[in-house]
């Protein structure tokens, strides 16, 4: 039981689900700061208000991100949580760890912090909860000695994250882990030294299943796709039918663009009408696969609802071959142009998607030096919204 009297928190132990309170009770035996954390949390439940102050100048030398300042406003009552800073640690691409790496991380955090973690935060980082200001630098030194670095926070490029891609998924249309690692290394300055109007997130998804939800969460989403036809194994399709799958109702009828036909002997796909939703491939993974000419679509502008409402990404580059180093270099140059335009015209705390909404996509494309293309759409399966300047000029001449 808790060393403090915490009747409301005790209620959370009674459900059939695992409770964070149970874990906190275990930790408090060796961590006085967790005793105070429980006390403050009980107060918050009783009073229905939070007691954390957020932000400030706390951090490690030279870095502007990776530490989120957290102070208690009940410092006299709960002195052990007077400082309870969060450290964001850059996760390995696709969250692969050795057991040894996890033990090392746990030992470092046991030594310097509360021992509480949030594996992983919504951006993907390893989140270490509860560190005093004086322990930040020693903790950072131990983490870097073990090969870890801080992730992003504040108005910077946030820690890039990716799905497991070619490491474990046959649908991956490009090597998400490689590109995530490459971007993390390339943009170290932008990751650690906040210089933007607000945050900027990259997420790398290997296919349109978008397992890292990049289309809804990343300012720039790189979603794997293909240009040619879906690969079909008709013998495997027949096996699905023999096995009892109702192909018409489970696959054909669920195709959003109605581009699949099934005649009892095999399926026929009109690939020009396919919108790459992945439904048929997910339903019959042994019979269907993405095409062979693989790459990615680059989308821009999504965000969760914080300052303004939620936004989904818009298509910026319909197809890029991410196995081609030259195309990757062109992409990095485009990203530089986007950041320059955003720096120049973005308002404080305005995400890229909000900037595009405010100035208009045509102005934005003009500003970053990208020609409009008909495939640029405001939402999946929507119509192109770009109008072409050349045509406008011709009309003006008339």
């Amino acid at each position: 039981m808790a060393k403090r009297d915490t009747p409301m928190l005790d209620e959370l132990l009674k459900g059939p689900y695992p409770s964070f309170v149970k874990e906190l009770y275990k930790v408090q035996e060796r961590k006085p700061m967790v005793q105070d954390l429980l006390g403050q949390l009980e107060d918050s439940y009783e009073e229905r208000i939070g007691h954390w102050k957020h932000g400030g100048i706390v951090g490690v030398m030279g870095y502007g991100g990776g530490v989120i300042g957290r102070y208690s406003d009940l410092q006299e009552k709960y002195p052990a949580v007077a400082h309870f800073h969060t450290m964001r640690i850059n996760q390995p691409a696709a969250w692969f760890y050795t057991s040894d790496a996890l033990r090392t991380l746990a030992d470092i955090w046991e030594k310097h912090g509360s021992g509480l973690t949030n594996m992983h935060g919504s951006t993907g980082d390893i989140v270490l909860l509860g560190c005093k200001t004086d322990d930040l630098e020693p903790c950072f030194a131990d983490l870097t000695a073990a090969g870890f670095d801080l992730g992003g926070s504040g108005s910077c490029m946030r820690t890039p994250s990716c799905c497991l891609g070619k490491a474990r998924c046959e649908w991956a249309c490009y090597d998400t882990m490689k590109l995530c690692y490459e971007f993390t290394q390339e943009f170290q300055d932008e990751l650690h030294r906040p210089a933007f109007p607000y945050k900027f997130k990259f997420k790398f998804s290997g296919c349109p299943n978008d397992c890292v939800a990049s289309i809804a969460r990343a300012d720039m989403s790189l979603i794997g796709t293909w240009k040619d036809e879906i690969q079909v194994d008709q013998a495997a399709v027949a096996d699905y039918a023999k096995g009892g799958m109702d192909i018409v109702s489970d696959v054909v009828m669920n195709c959003p663009s109605k581009c699949i036909k099934y005649n009892g002997n095999g399926i026929e796909i009109d690939d020009h009408e396919c919108v790459h939703c992945m439904h048929c491939i997910n339903a019959m993974p042994k019979a269907l696969a993405p095409g062979k000419e693989r790459g990615a679509t680059i989308l821009l502008g999504s965000k969760a609802p914080i300052m303004e409402g939620a936004l989904l990404s818009s298509v910026l580059v319909p197809f890029i071959d991410l196995n081609d180093e030259d195309e990757i270099e062109d992409l990095k140059e485009l990203i530089g142009n986007i950041w320059d335009f955003w720096d120049e015209h973005g308002r404080n705390r305005e995400r890229v998607g909000e900037l595009i909404q405010r100035v208009g996509m045509a102005t934005f494309l003009d500003g970053i030096g990208l020609d409009p293309e008909p495939e640029m759409v405001s939402a999946p399966r929507d119509n192109p919204y770009i109008f072409f300047q050349d045509e406008e000029e011709e009309e003006d001449d008339e």
């Binding site: 102070y71 030294r193 607000y198």
Partner: protein, 81 residues
């Protein structure tokens, strides 16, 4: 007026931060814009290096108040200790 060096740009940025302390929070972008307005030949990369110099030698620190700003090092008010 010649092109300023990185330490000279850093010094000008430091002065801007010093003068605005307690009045207005400045972002990295505000300092970069001000420098580039005064010295159009100075590019963003040079401004970035000047900012990095200010941070690495501890003359300035990053602060978070809903967004990231640049300030002079000071005792954290929220720490209250």
């Amino acid at each position: 007026m010649g092109t300023p060096s990185i330490p000279e740009i850093a010094e000008e940025m430091f002065q801007m931060v010093s003068e605005s302390m307690g009045k207005k929070n400045l972002k990295a972008g505000d300092l970069t814009k001000a420098i580039r307005q005064k010295y159009p030949e100075v590019d963003r990369k040079t401004c970035k290096l000047a900012l990095r110099e200010l941070m690495d030698n501890g003359r300035c620190v990053y602060a978070y108040f809903g967004g990231s700003y640049i300030q002079l090092p000071h005792k954290e008010g929220a720490a209250n200790d």
